[in-house]
């Protein structure tokens, strides 16, 4: 347990440098984006003096590193400052929008597992069969399909033609859970296509490897039924693989929401950062990046801890 504690401690120590690195790189990239937020804020008929005044008000006339340092210092004191465009506290905006994105990611993950795991098992227990071929080819297709394309096809079919699901928008889960899930369904499905494929393929190959290993042959020899072998020994051993896939999947889903949120006009983190980046509203961009980095690091940490529980070897090294 002591070793496990050290492992977790090491992970926690990595958080600060990762956050600094990520936000610094994003801040640097933002400098390369053409356009000037002071000109945007000043409006159509602005005088040069008004633009200079706005630059001074927001500290945009200061050197790159000073601006970044200022932001970092405030962020370290839990002050994410205010949006240049709306003047709203960035933290409020993030807290308001993150639940919407998280719901979609959670539903997408759930769909990936509910469909992907059985497919993977079925394919692995009958390798080479026609069913296996169907599953693996579907999996390849799922990975290859761009999710924004799939999203549009889903909208055209289920929202525009059949009117089963709404085509746009989101509802807060706390307000109306049923309606929230209805709104999240199509975007989550669009995101899950890749997830289903990933889970099924990884699970299949891991399971095939285990089921063809020598100790499983011994179990067969001992007279255990194939079902018992699969459920008791097979799945327990692939759980680590599955966990790895889930961890990677969450990170990927969080990133992919940017595109899917645009297709469905969902007011989530993706649309927040896109709008902010286009208009160079850098406190918002930095805030969103920070939030995403923290979530990804926490997820990785959680998964590492679960590894340690599922696989006794992890803590020992």
């Amino acid at each position: 347990m002591n070793n496990k504690g050290q492992m977790i401690g090491r992970r926690l120590l990595q958080i600060a440098p990762v956050i600094v690195l990520a936000t610094f790189v994003v801040f640097g990239l933002l400098q390369l984006v053409p356009g000037d937020i002071a000109v945007t804020l000043a409006g159509e008929n602005a005088t040069d003096a008004r633009i200079v005044q706005i630059r001074q008000t927001y500290g945009l006339d200061q050197p790159f590193l000073v601006q970044y340092g200022h932001w970092l210092w405030n962020a370290a004191h839990l002050d994410l400052s205010r949006s240049y465009l709306s003047n709203e506290p960035v933290l409020d905006q993030i807290l308001h929008r993150f639940p919407t994105t998280l719901l979609i990611v959670a539903v997408a993950l759930l769909i990936s597992l509910i469909i992907g795991v059985p497919l993977g098992i079925v394919a692995a227990t009958r390798p080479g069969s026609r069913l296996d071929t169907v599953v693996t080819s579907f999996a390849s297709l799922g990975v290859a399909l761009p999710n924004f394309w799939l999203a549009m096809i889903l909208v055209a079919t289920f929202a525009l033609t059949w009117n089963i699901f709404p085509a746009t928008g989101a509802v807060a889960f706390g307000k109306d859970p049923a309606k929230a899930l209805l709104h999240a369904a199509l975007p989550a499905f669009a995101l899950a296509a890749g997830g289903i494929a990933e889970v099924a393929r990884q699970l299949r190959s891991a399971l095939i490897e285990i089921l063809s290993s020598q100790y499983v042959r011994t179990l067969h020899a001992k007279g255990l039924s194939p079902t018992a072998i699969l459920w008791k020994h097979g799945l327990k051993n692939v759980s680590v693989t599955l966990l790895t896939v889930v961890g990677l999947l969450i990170n990927r889903l969080l990133g992919a929401t940017v595109v899917v949120e645009a297709v469905f006009a969902i007011p989530g983190m993706g649309s927040l950062i896109v709008h902010a980046a286009i208009h160079k509203d850098f406190p918002v961009v930095q805030g969103v990046v920070l939030a995403m980095v923290v979530v990804v690091i926490c997820m990785n940490l959680l998964i590492d801890m679960l590894y340690a529980i599922l696989d006794p070897r992890v803590g020992r090294t």
Binding site: G35, L85, V155, A167, P267
Partner: protein
């Protein structure tokens, strides 16, 4: 002399009913109630008319703010608004008589004191973005409980229509004083609806102003404007039933609207003119023959077909056909004539053609327009190169840094046409890249348009001004963009207006 007061609301509705668009349907009386759900493509810059800067904010502002002067939807002629009438006591004194019984959403009366407060704030507040609009006003005085007198430093008959824009939108003085900068996001006006909430980039909700001055209106209990940046997604939200109304669509989307069952498309001309700005202050565009050649080289019909799906109005003037100051004579000045263009270029000393550098926006539709322009210019021997960027970037590059000879951009229009000409061709004006007066006659002609308060004499002054601008080819207008909206069957009473910024004041919902 008094400006003839326009028709009242009932007459106005009757006029709308007589118009072609609604003549075939059996007209029912407007029903009160219901929430209109609108897909809006932009988030407002602010909701304070004085401090905001976006041309697309008006759709939101109109729901919450009434203007001192209203305008005729079809021709943009001035109509009574919060001011029932106005008159020039002398050329330097404008007197407004206000509508009685108007109150702001917070109960503050909208009287002469409130109007003075607003006009002074618009003229003097450091954060005001409408100062240039009121540059000719030297003082505002309360001359009666419902009467305001404005003193001017030069004759300016453009003011009534200027007061139909941001500068004439009245905010509650109580709220502005109490909220300060926060009034940007919690505005209090005297319009038909009041703000409930503004979730940034997400949704703006307004609800009925119970003490609105017209007891019959508004018909709608409220409006929910959901911000969906992408117009294709916005249109899908209406087709799928999440919204009732979507605006600022592109002409290319007409086919999608027509394919969808139960959707009605609305189109109408606007002042929004896609055009080539010309820097006539230096070579080669300082030669009038080159500028005329440019105008003869453009096939506007073809441009309309290729870039606007044929759904716009080809433009040779800076005002569309239905505008009150439109002059049909000058509109014939530049038919498509490539031979004449080549001849003019040769006369100007470019028998082998010339090179032009065009500034352009970097979005897909602008680049598509650029391709058509470049190809048309190539046919008369003009070899065009281009450089692209965002709107603020290119505007700065062309008008401030003086990059490029020609700027493929647009003029969004102004309520009073004198501003349109002043801002584009006046000496020293921002939107005149050369900063000079191209010909000496232009200054006096500009002043002349603001001297008389009688629309028919103003029309003559504009005809003279348009003649100067057109003969000297100071700009190459291409097309007037049509406003394109779509709504469901249950939305009734919507009419587009020439300004191209939707107003929902007469809209109602079928049960």
């Amino acid at each position: 002399m008094r400006i003839p007061i326009g028709i009242d609301r009932r007459a106005f509705l009757a006029l709308l009913a007589a118009g072609g668009a609604m003549s075939t349907e059996v007209r029912a009386a407007p029903r009160k109630g219901g929430i209109l759900r609108v897909a809006a493509p932009t988030n407002p810059t602010t909701l304070d008319p004085a401090t905001g800067s976006g041309g697309s904010d008006h759709v939101f502002l109109y729901t919450m703010f009434d203007t001192l002067v209203a305008f005729d939807y079809a021709t943009l002629e001035p109509r009574p608004g919060l001011a029932l009438s106005w008159s020039y006591a002398d050329p330097l004194t404008l007197v407004l008589t206000l509508r009685p019984g108007v109150v702001f959403h917070d109960g503050t009366p909208c009287d002469a004191e409130a109007v003075k407060f607003n006009l002074d704030r618009n003229r003097e507040d450091p954060r005001s973005n409408v100062k240039p609009d009121l540059a000719t006003v030297t003082s505002v005085e309360v001359s009666g409980p419902l009467q305001v007198t404005m003193k001017l430093n030069q004759p300016d008959t453009a003011l009534p229509l200027i007061l139909s824009d941001r500068a004439g939108m009245m905010s509650s003085p109580t709220a502005v004083k109490a909220l300060g900068k926060d009034h940007d996001r919690k505005p209090v006006g005297a319009g038909p609806w009041k703000l409930v909430s503004w979730e940034d980039n997400e949704k703006i909700t307004v609800t009925r102003h119970e003490k609105y001055w017209d007891p019959e209106r508004p018909y709608l209990d409220g409006i929910e404007l959901t911000i969906i940046q992408e117009v294709n997604t916005g249109l899908r939200s209406v087709i799928a039933g999440q919204n009732d109304f979507v605006y600022f669509l592109s002409p290319q989307q007409k086919a999608v609207i027509d394919r969808a069952k139960n959707l009605i498309s609305v189109a109408g001309p606007t002042l929004y003119c896609v055009q080539l700005y010309i820097n006539f202050g230096r070579k080669p565009m300082d030669d009038v023959r080159v500028r005329q050649a440019l105008n003869f080289a453009i096939d506007r019909e073809e441009f309309n077909k290729a870039t606007m799906a044929g759904l716009s109005e080809p433009a040779t003037l800076s005002l569309p056909k239905s505008h009150w100051a439109y002059d049909p004579e000058m509109a014939k000045a530049y038919p498509y004539d490539p031979d004449k263009a080549r001849k003019l270029l040769a006369e100007a000393g470019y028998p082998n053609g010339l090179d032009l550098n065009i500034a352009v926006y970097s979005d897909q539709r602008s680049l598509q327009r650029l391709e058509v322009v470049i190809e048309q210019l190539r046919k008369v021997g003009i070899r065009a190169t281009s450089f692209a960027g965002t709107i603020p970037q290119q505007t700065n590059a062309f008008f401030v840094e003086k990059k490029g000879d020609v700027y493929l951009s647009a003029w969004t229009g102004r309520p009073d046409p004198s501003l349109t000409y002043q801002l584009m061709f006046g000496g020293g004006s921002f939107y005149n890249a050369s900063r000079i007066e191209a010909v000496p006659e232009i200054g006096p002609a500009l002043l002349e348009t603001r001297r008389s308060e009688d629309l028919s004499s103003r029309k003559k002054a504009f005809a003279k001004l348009q003649k100067i601008v057109t003969e000297n080819a100071l700009v190459a207008p291409l097309v007037f963009q049509f406003e394109m909206d779509a709504h469901t069957q249950k939305v009734k009473g919507y009419q587009p207006n020439l300004l191209g910024k939707c107003k929902f004041e007469f809209v109602w919902l079928e049960a």
